[in-house]
Subunit: 346 residues, 2 copies
């Protein structure tokens, strides 16, 4: 097996740090490693496998000789630099929303559509965190029983909004407990006009609003799910909500299958052996997935699987995963591993 | 207008205290007031409209002469003492689940089914908090467009589990921020075997599990909604989740109407003038209901009303209310006011 020249773009961010940790843990075959960032963070020292690396500014030239570049530094950075990396021979795995809905760009969750990688044109998109964990849980059900409708309500952690959002949540929580005044400045969306209290609250806004009343986050879940599952006609609806949780997204999901008749026991059996899934479903012993328990783990946790009481083809479930790992860093590294396995890296 | 002999049972609890506050604010026509509690809390002094009252132990004899008794001291207290109060001539408004599904007991949300009060046999049940706020928002839609299906995912506050649960959440939050060890002892359910971290988490369990995989809280929402709306055939499904929020339940609700074709603008217009509802729905200006903003207010707040993108008769919305007020104390006092208005108090 060869070793590869790897670049991580956005190495100092919340997801970038998890990417490095994951590359290390997975012992990815790295020949050389470049850590890239904005000008502001360049010069920082980061250690990887016991060796120290100086973070360099991400410029077009920095990608010379790079074979695989993992991007997680915001959509505008990806738009500007991913094509430059590709021009220089790299394959880009992009964790932003910049190229996800581009018809020339595969949108990949390896457990679901690894084969889409073979059609890549240099850029491969990593889906939105809340989408990834849902499709990992739904794919085995789709494969066996067909899938007609999905209605999801999310319970999303603040780490999806970055390190500053985590800091805001913690400081605000402290302020409320101590009776201090505070002024929300980041959440729900750094770039939006108004900011609301996240501590001890639930905010039904993630990302900006579109004209149709849905947020971009909700439309990402809707559109990306259809693209990854290659089901343009799948009915998908989402309500995305930010919670005072540091890491770990939870989802309450209602589905209708094409073929009814699957028992809850059959769905449990199916998911117990599904790739990337850990079944945690034993209500009698209060076993169900919890955000607090998923942190640092790569799998998607599924539980509370129930038959809808009215529709024979309706089911409810609770899906939890570490949004920085399977939702971002782990799925990106997993795509890189798939590229190696399928011999798609030049 | 007469003045009435009123008793509040469970006067020292989280809901009991809100009941007294609400009776005071509404200037309910009280002739005499009795504050009752368990033996343990008897003897405490509580002030009401500037006058001090000594809490007495709730015994059968304590209800002599009482015309209306507001119960909120747990199901077993209601089961034992509500019939005793009725025997002595009182009308009971019971905030526990003890009698809610009893076919001889009206289950009332005044905005929805005030007329059911006329059939009472001494006991009137106050529905579950998460059910009340949902039916207040759905009733105007049902009335105009018919209602076929409801799928709700809840985001529920810990005050629904009592004052000790609030204390546990706050202490645990402090412990996590300060890096201290802690042992969960109450939530998700005081009477269940295992207890989990509520701080910075989302727990998909409220009340105990039934054999069908649903919790009692979820089955309450399902069964009570059908009873209040007098729609045995209504499809209702619920997933109930406890959050680290002190007060204010939020709900992500998907509905299908009988008649499709209502525009979002029409639904907003309908809800803007619906009794007990405040519409907060202006996504362009980030206006939507928030748990943190509903505390201390009697209304049910509705926003984020959207057309389902696949089904013409499908809609999504976000419903928030103070679970101690409209979810409990205010709805109970409102029932008492309806009894006065309809001349049903002897």
């Amino acid at each position: 097996m060869s070793n590869y020249h790897v670049a991580v773009v956005g190495a100092t961010g919340a997801v970038g740090q998890q990417m490095l940790k994951t590359l290390e843990e997975r012992d990815f075959p790295i020949g050389s490693l470049k850590l890239l960032s904005s000008k502001r963070s360049a010069g920082k020292i980061i250690s990887f496998k016991g060796k120290e690396y100086t973070v360099e500014e991400a410029t077009p030239e920095a990608f010379e000789g790079v074979q695989i570049a993992l991007f997680s530094a915001g959509g505008s950075v990806s738009k500007a630099l991913a094509p430059e990396a590709v021009k220089r021979g790299a394959i880009v795995v992009d964790n932003t929303s910049a190229f996800r809905m581009d018809s020339n760009v595969p949108l990949v969750v390896p457990e679901v559509n690894e084969k889409a990688l073979t059609n890549h044109n240099g850029i491969i998109a990593n889906p939105n965190c809340s989408t990834i964990q849902m499709v990992v849980a739904l794919e085995p059900i789709r494969e066996k029983y067909g899938l007609k409708k999905v209605v999801v309500s999310t319970y999303q952690a603040v780490s999806g909004a970055g390190l500053e959002a985590i800091e805001e949540m913690k400081q605000q929580t402290k302020d409320i407990l101590e009776g201090n005044e505070f002024t929300p400045e980041i959440l729900p969306v750094g770039g939006d006009k108004k900011h609301y209290q996240i501590a001890f609250n639930a905010i039904p806004q993630i990302d900006l609003f579109q004209d149709n009343g849905y947020t971009f986050e909700e439309m990402k879940m809707i559109n990306e799910t259809k693209k990854i599952m290659e089901m343009a006609g799948l009915e998908v609806a989402a309500t995305c909500v930010r919670l005072p949780v540091e890491t770990g997204h939870s989802e309450s999901v209602y589905i209708e299958t094409e073929k009814g008749g699957a028992t809850v026991a059959e769905l449990k059996e199916l998911l117990a052996t599904a790739p990337g899934v850990t079944l945690q479903d034993d209500p009698a012993n209060q076993v169900y997935p919890l955000a607090s328990e998923c942190v640092g783990k790569n799998d998607v946790f599924v539980g509370r699987i129930r038959q809808d009481l009215d529709r024979d083809n309706g089911y409810h479930m609770w899906i939890v995963s570490d949004n920085l790992l399977k939702g971002a860093a782990w799925n990106s590294v997993q795509i890189a591993e798939s590229l190696v396995k399928l011999d798609l890296l030049s």
